[in-house]
Symmetry: C3
Subunit: 214 residues, 3 copies
């Protein structure tokens, strides 16, 4: 996968996550500036976390200001169009799933290209993918969606990062295979939401989850 293609996919992931952040900002009654800032935090947070951990110079989001274009676009789109769509959280979750699908691929790839071993790259890819969403929810004072036991969130990201590391190791990673991996992650996340697929609870013998959001 050439770097230009990787940058394009990365920016698309930033846009998806930024829309989820701006939609949440709208739902919480924040203003347009808050929408831009929460969108930036969600869209860029995971990648900044990744680059800070890789420790190889300032994060891409700061050294290359093009990264702030997707959050600007996302805040504008939400400003003009949000009233036309449902107020529920389904749309937020859909854009969040798009960001998750792209970031577990691009995050793992960037870690591998920085010379990390495949296991570390996989873990950093998952961190990149889930990091922005956790920052979004914690900042908006909600329990992170990542911890909702009623569907799958980290498992699709883990799968996508694993596939990426394997494809890269085999020399098969290109735009086509990367896109297939991203679609797979997105589909698994959305199907899990739709059909309520879920993992076992954290403690085997405690019957009733007391999880509530918000």
């Amino acid at each position: 996968m050439t770097l230009d293609v990787a940058l394009m996919l990365d920016l698309l992931g930033v846009f998806f996550f930024a829309v989820s952040g701006s939609l949440l900002a709208a739902r919480q009654g924040f203003d347009l500036v808050g929408s831009l800032l929460l969108g930036s935090l969600v869209g860029l947070g995971g990648g900044v976390l990744r680059d800070v951990i890789l420790n190889s110079g300032p994060p891409a989001a700061f050294s290359n200001p093009i990264y702030f274009a997707p959050p600007l676009l996302a805040a504008a789109v939400v400003y003009f169009l949000a009233g036309k769509v449902e107020r529920g959280s389904r749309l937020i979750l859909t854009f969040d799933a798009g960001g998750l699908a792209l970031f577990c691929i691009t995050g793992t790839l960037k870690a591998l290209e920085s010379g990390m071993n495949p296991v570390a790259a996989l873990l950093l890819g998952v961190t990149t993918a889930v990091g922005g969403g956790v920052l979004r929810d914690v900042t908006a004072n909600q329990t992170p969606r990542l911890f909702d036991p009623r569907d799958l969130y980290a498992i699709p990201a883990l799968l996508g990062a694993g596939i990426t590391a394997a494809l890269w190791y085999l020399g098969w990673l290109d735009l086509a295979t990367g896109t297939v991996a991203a679609v797979l992650v997105f589909a698994l996340r959305m199907l899990g939401l739709r059909f309520g697929w879920h993992a076992p609870l954290a403690a085997r013998s405690w019957a009733r989850p007391r999880f509530r959001r918000g």
Copy 2:
């Protein structure tokens, strides 16, 4: 602006933010140690974030322990004097505004001197200025003040960072012009609070903000 003056202004900003943190700690019923720690987090958090992103050695707050003097002083001041002042949030907001005004200048300056391009420096200056306050509010389990749609918070910081970058580019940045910029940011923030100046909501057609603090 010489480095000594920049350090002095930076320490003053740390003190202002630390007072806002210690006051919040007092209001939340934390103890003296919690007051010192929350003050340190607010006062030093934005700068540590900035230095971690600049990725040029350990953050100033750790390599130069003088940075812990302002939080110590702030915790002592709040301990002895807090009972004499109003319990409301106005005082917290005033000190917070002082920190905001100084940090958007010193943060942008430090980024420029580390060789960042002006746009990136502006963004990092804003991050430095709002970072400590977001950490304070998230840690004390409140929706960050940054997102309150009833007044302006990020816009004054953005303006201050922009002025700083422009002055630096023109070679006009010194103690006098820097102080004028900081006073301008502080005044804009306080006037916005006083008169309820605010930005448009995140979604044009959603009538009623559901924002509540705390």
Copy 3:
């Protein structure tokens, strides 16, 4: 203290903190994946924070995947055994105290060996020790235990970091003295909990703390 012994103590600290995270995940009704992730965040968060601040290459937790073994073990232990123990928070606090005791030693040591001055190393040791727990509580949407004014949390960590810096400076730091320091920190934290030892409130003249958890 050889590096192998330091690594062993570090991994034990990761395990203690990870158990506290997985227990909290179980209590909040998270699933097994959430238990693993919250355990990893608590167990590894403080050390990642420390290494990011030290700014000397990628954090140990990512460059050496053995660090993910304790969180895996902790999630499994909690999954199979949590139902057999009390549901209260006492067990969480006990494991948290174990992590605190070990991390204030290993965090200070790592900072000293990276060439930090003793004061900075002490502060970074305390940051390492309390960082994971703050991340745990903020992520699970609770006011950090660190700020509970009814017992001592940061003071034992500060004492442990101070003893470590002193022992290291005198050339007396080895497995025996390090273990004694850790036991001291653990005992002080647990005795403080048991007998309700506490520090003065943040504001001298405000009578009634309004602190509530959760």
